[in-house]
Symmetry: C2
Subunit: 334 residues, 2 copies
Amino acid sequence: MMIAVDAAGGENAPREIVKGAIKAAQEYEVDIALVGNKAILHVLAGRQIRKLNLTIIDAKEVIAPTESPMKAVKSKPNSSIVVGTNLVKDGVASAFVSAGNTGAVLVSSLLSLGKIKGVERPALGSFIDLTPATPFLLIDSGANAECRPSYLVQFAHLGSIYVKNLLDIEAPRVRLLSTGEEETKGNRLAQESYSLLKKTKLNFVGSIEGQDISRAIADVIVTDGFTGNIVLKTIEGLGDTFLGAARQIGYIVATASHLRGRALLQEIGVGSWAKKADYREYGGACLLGVNGTIIAAHGRSQAKAIKNAIVLAKQTVERNICQIIKEENYEQAD
Amino acid sequence: MMIAVDAAGGENAPREIVKGAIKAAQEYEVDIALVGNKAILHVLAGRQIRKLNLTIIDAKEVIAPTESPMKAVKSKPNSSIVVGTNLVKDGVASAFVSAGNTGAVLVSSLLSLGKIKGVERPALGSFIDLTPATPFLLIDSGANAECRPSYLVQFAHLGSIYVKNLLDIEAPRVRLLSTGEEETKGNRLAQESYSLLKKTKLNFVGSIEGQDISRAIADVIVTDGFTGNIVLKTIEGLGDTFLGAARQIGYIVATASHLRGRALLQEIGVGSWAKKADYREYGGACLLGVNGTIIAAHGRSQAKAIKNAIVLAKQTVERNICQIIKEENYEQAD
């Protein structure tokens, strides 16, 4: 299985991307194609290219994070993002991982791979892991700022299929993000989506409010891409704040008590919690509903996050998610 | 100054409400009117009634948290919420504090007090305090699930007036909650609100993404009531999660090290941080734009939160916020 990795995308490209890709190739049985400036990649990857059998694919152009996605994708056919999605389209790569301009990754995936038949809008599904229990999938975490109720129902379907087949949860509990538990709460979109979700065969168990997100009462949390993106990033931001506080405490305790304070803290409590709240641990978001496996990693991704994104891509391909969506979606359309 | 307190509203009513009101009366120079079941309140408040000169106002009916606000307010004229807002309307009380059904508090305030001339939609402003710097105001934190761009501009005005006059910040930095920094990011509501906000005389400094909420780069964060409510509650929920982790760590360190671990932690690091992330410390949300001072406290409020909500009401009245909104809004309408 070959996974194409955008070596030019994200704040820490190309160095951290190459590091992460090398780690993934070393620790997991996965062939990597690095997409970016050939000359630079040869210098950065060096001897690892032959050692790990890395493929280098030249892509001279770069799409900046602030560029307008549609315009950038159309005007830069040799950008790492367009080249990467085309590798998936042409069957050269099984998946593409990019920490670059998320909008451009979406547009390029749609133009190159197309939507799976019956899918109105592909959506980004992000795993969030805050509790000792299993993580949940937040969908849509940012692909569709403007949504109709029917989109949210489809996000619920896509998310259920993903969680079921990736995490082996037989009937994932689906909840709708809203401002109250009752069907009458929330905005019009939430209210209408609730009444549609009730009628599906999904394991829809009601709404969920913000304060209950970390209570492990949902396997799939459905919302529009605007709200989802803000919630995801709020969690990330608070995670960073907690992490900073936790580190400071560990340091102060270690200094003040002359004990093994910091090590102790990391071993027992803060360590595992903070690790979970840290986006650097996440693998990124999977674009569900397109004809191929595309993982949008965090723009601030460092080597570890890139490695994890590659592992998520690998699992998504191995579990045949794309094919299952095609089949199940076809069934639903019948 | 008399502040009316809904003794029947919220999960911990009436006991915690009465406790909080008594604390406020003891620690601050404020006259309290407890609104609720007279007989019960006499038993709960006991000797404090004479000692602190508490007023007991009978309200036989209670509006449950799950009741439809409009229906409940219309059918229960003797409910603590309707009686409480009428006390403000009639000039008996300077403010009303309720931890009851927020929707019913909004509806009753609108019906009883009315909107300030020129205000399209009153909004809930909630102070959030996550950093060592000053807190910021999130508006709308839940009054209007469905919003137009013009509403958000007005929320920005209301929020700026509140922060300026309550916290003595001369030109509060206003930011729009969105999914990117550029004007073109976000949903249609965010995009159109951005272009309107640019044209105001407010100190509008751009958008803010979820991950930057705790970075102290805004004094007022503007959003619709659906997104705002979800973000507020997400922060509360994560605060609780972190608090739990922090307490556990404090306990383990104290046990394992036989040191003053817990006390140490509380004194130096986790204590102050956790305090900030704990909704029990917040005073509640102020309903800005109605003809009177109304504070909607958290439904899970315990005595401390109620006390703080009463203090917020007191400050809001003392700083003459309602009158200033009337004057400044009139100026803007000119």
